[in-house]
C-alpha cells in the first residue's frame, strides 16, 4: 500500500487573527488538519526599543521597558532598575526592596491570570477568561492606588520607587489576597479539571527538558518541562533570598512532563507561591524613605553588565553598557517570550491546527516583548 499524500496548503495565521496574542504571523503548511511546518514571522510591533535607549538618558529608558512586556510592566521595570543598581552599586533602602517585591509579585499574578484566561479562550472556554479578568482588575486597582497608572506604571526608579505606598495599603492588599486565594480553586473547578480541557492540553505540544534548555526557554515554560530553574531562587536578586516559597514543576500529572497542561499548571501554582511571597513581604514591610537613594544624575561608571531577573514569562535579561555619559551606550533586552516563540516551530510540528493555537497559547507570549 502506498502512502496517501494529499496536497499541502499554506495557511497564514495572522498577522490579524483572534489567537495570535498580538500581531504575529505564523506561516503554516498543512496537510488537511495536520500541520507539517510552522514558520513564525515577527517584527510587526518592532519599535526600536534598543535604538531609542541609546538616544535617551538612563531614567528615560524605564517607560520604554514598560511598553515591552505591557502585561507585566512592573517586572520589566524591576529587571532594569536592578541591573542599573548593580552597575552603579547603589544599595536601596529596605522599604523600597519590599515594595518592589510586592509589586512585582502582584504583577506576576496579574500576568498569569491573563495568560491562563487567554489560554482558556484559545481552547474555547470563554467564561474563565472573564472570571480571571475580574480578579486581575482588582490588582490593577491596587496599582492605580499606588502609582496612578493601570497598565504602564513607570513605578520603579533607579534607586527607589516613584511613589510611597498609599495609606491603608497593607489592609487593601491583604484583603485582595484573602479574596483571591479561594478563587484559584474556582478556576481549577471550572477549567483545569474539565475533561475536555485535559483532553485538549495533556500530552499536547510536549517540550522535553533538553530541547527546552537548548531553545533558551525559561520561566514557567521551562519549569513545566520539569527543570528546576528560577532566577529568584538560583540567582537571587533584590531580597528574594529572604522569602520562603516553592518552585512548582511540571509533573506530567495527566500526560507527559512538559506538555501544554504542565505549562498551564505551573502558572496556576505560581500564583499561590506569589501570594505566599506577598504575605511575607507585607508582614515584614519596614518603614523608611523611599526617595532617599534616588540619584540626582544617573552617570554609571564605565563598564558593562548582564543581569537577569524572573519576569512572569521567564528570564528577563538586560545587557547594559555604559561609557560614562548620561546616555546608555547599548541596552539589550533578552526577552523570554522571544526564545519561547522560537521553540514553537519545533514543538508544534505534526500536531493539528487547533493544537498549534493551544500550544502557542500555552507558551504565553507577549508580542510587545518579542518585537521590542
Amino acid at each position: 500500500m502506498g502512502v496517501v499524500q494529499g496536497d499541502q496548503m499554506v495557511l497564514n495565521i495572522g498577522p490579524q487573527h483572534p489567537s495570535t496574542h498580538g500581531v504575529l504571523r505564523l506561516q503554516v503548511r498543512t496537510d488537511g488538519e495536520i500541520v507539517s511546518e510552522i514558520k513564525p514571522y515577527i517584527g510587526y510591533l518592532h519599535r526600536c526599543f534598543e535604538k531609542h535607549c541609546e538616544n535617551v538618558t538612563y531614567e528615560q529608558v524605564i517607560p520604554f521597558t514598560d511598553r515591552c512586556d505591557y502585561i507585566a510592566s512592573m517586572n520589566n521595570n524591576f529587571g532594569y532598575v536592578v541591573t542599573m543598581e548593580e552597575l552603579m552599586e547603589i544599595k536601596v533602602p529596605e522599604r523600597v526592596e519590599y515594595i518592589r517585591v510586592i509589586m512585582a509579585e502582584l504583577n506576576r499574578i496579574a500576568s498569569h491570570l491573563l495568560a491562563l484566561g487567554t489560554y482558556g479562550l484559545d481552547v474555547g472556554a470563554f467564561t474563565p477568561f472573564l472570571y480571571m479578568f475580574r480578579d486581575r482588575e482588582r490588582i490593577l486597582d491596587i496599582f492605580e492606588l499606588t502609582c496612578g497608572a493601570r497598565l504602564l506604571y513607570n513605578y520603579m526608579w533607579v534607586g527607589g520607587v516613584s511613589h510611597d505606598l498609599p495609606k491603608d495599603f497593607e489592609r487593601i492588599c491583604i484583603g485582595f489576597l484573602d479574596y483571591f486565594e479561594p478563587k484559584i480553586k474556582e478556576y481549577n473547578d471550572l477549567l483545569t479539571h474539565n475533561k475536555i480541557f485535559l483532553e485538549r492540553t495533556a500530552d499536547v505540544g510536549v517540550l522535553p527538558p533538553d530541547v527546552a534548555i537548548s531553545f533558551g526557554v525559561s520561566g514557567p515554560n521551562l519549569r513545566g518541562s520539569g527543570v528546576k530553574w528560577d532566577v529568584r531562587k538560583d540567582e537571587p536578586y533584590s531580597i528574594y533570598d529572604r522569602f520562603e516559597f516553592e518552585i512548582p514543576l511540571g509533573e506530567g500529572e495527566f500526560g507527559t512532563v512538559g506538555d501544554s497542561f504542565d505549562r498551564y499548571w505551573v502558572r496556576v501554582c505560581e500564583m499561590k507561591e506569589s501570594i505566599k511571597i506577598i504575605r511575607q513581604a507585607i508582614k515584614n514591610l519596614p518603614d523608611g524613605d523611599v526617595f532617599q537613594t534616588i540619584p540626582k544624575k544617573i552617570r554609571p561608571p564605565k563598564g558593562s553588565i548582564y543581569r537577569r531577573t524572573e519576569s512572569p514569562r521567564g528570564d528577563l535579561g538586560y545587557y547594559i553598557i555604559s561609557d560614562g555619559s548620561p546616555k546608555p551606550f547599548r541596552v539589550k533586552m533578552r526577552s523570554p517570550a522571544f526564545t519561547a516563540l522560537s521553540s514553537l516551530s519545533e514543538i508544534a510540528q505534526g500536531w493539528m491546527l487547533s493544537d498549534v493555537i493551544a500550544i502557542l497559547g500555552s507558551l504565553d507570549i507577549v508580542l510587545g516583548e518579542i518585537d521590542r
Partner: protein, 165 residues
C-alpha cells in the same frame, strides 16, 4: 567553575584562542573568531563545562572605527556557572561562525544580531532579517547608521538629537 578556571580550560584546549584584554571584566573572555564553532561545541559538550544554555547573544558596535562585537552569555544548568564570550569582528567584513546548530536558540538570536548589526553568521541555515522588514536598508543599531529617507513611499521619521542634562 569560576570564569578564571574556564578561561584556563579554554586556553589549554585551544591554545592561542583566548585574547588577554584588560578592558574586559572578570566574567568575560575574549576569543578569536576563527575557532569559535569548535570552541562553542566544546563548551557545550565538555562534561566539566557543560554550558547547555545560551542565555543571550548581544551585538555591540564599539563606535567610530572600533570593531563590532558579538557577545554570548552562556550558562550551565548543571554546574550553575556562567561565562560571557566576546568575539570582536572587523567592521568592514564582520563574519563569524554560526552556533545555531549548537544551541538552537542561537537561530533567532543570530538573526536578530544580523538584522541590527549586519554581522554575518556563516553556516546559519536561515539568515534573514527578523525584526525589520526583509527589504530594510542598513544596520539600525550600528553607531554610523543613517535612517533611510523613505520606505516604500512612507517618510521615515528621524530621531531628534537633543541634549539632556
Amino acid at each position: 567553575m569560576t570564569s578564571k578556571e574556564i578561561k584556563k580550560t579554554l586556553d589549554r584546549q585551544f591554545p592561542g584562542s583566548v585574547i588577554e584584554n584588560v578592558d574586559f571584566a572578570e566574567r568575560q573572555v575574549e576569543l578569536k573568531p576563527d575557532q569559535w564553532l569548535e570552541i562553542a561545541t566544546f563548551l557545550k559538550n565538555d562534561p566539566g563545562l557543560s554550558f547547555d544554555q545560551l542565555e543571550c547573544v548581544t551585538g555591540i558596535d564599539t563606535g567610530e572605527d572600533g570593531p563590532l562585537q558579538s557577545r554570548y552569555n552562556l550558562h550551565s544548568m548543571e554546574h550553575r556557572h556562567k561565562i560571557e564570550v566576546v568575539i570582536s569582528l572587523d567592521r568592514s567584513n564582520p563574519k563569524v561562525a554560526s552556533i545555531e546548530q549548537v544551541w538552537r536558540v542561537g537561530d533567532w538570536f543570530e538573526r536578530e544580531t544580523y538584522d541590527m548589526f549586519g554581522i554575518i553568521y556563516e553556516g546559519h541555515r536561515d539568515l534573514r532579517r527578523i525584526l525589520c522588514p526583509e527589504d530594510w536598508e542598513g544596520w539600525p543599531l550600528r553607531k554610523d547608521y543613517e535612517t533611510q529617507e523613505t520606505y516604500h513611499g512612507i517618510v521615515v521619521s528621524k530621531i531628534k538629537e537633543e541634549e539632556w542634562e
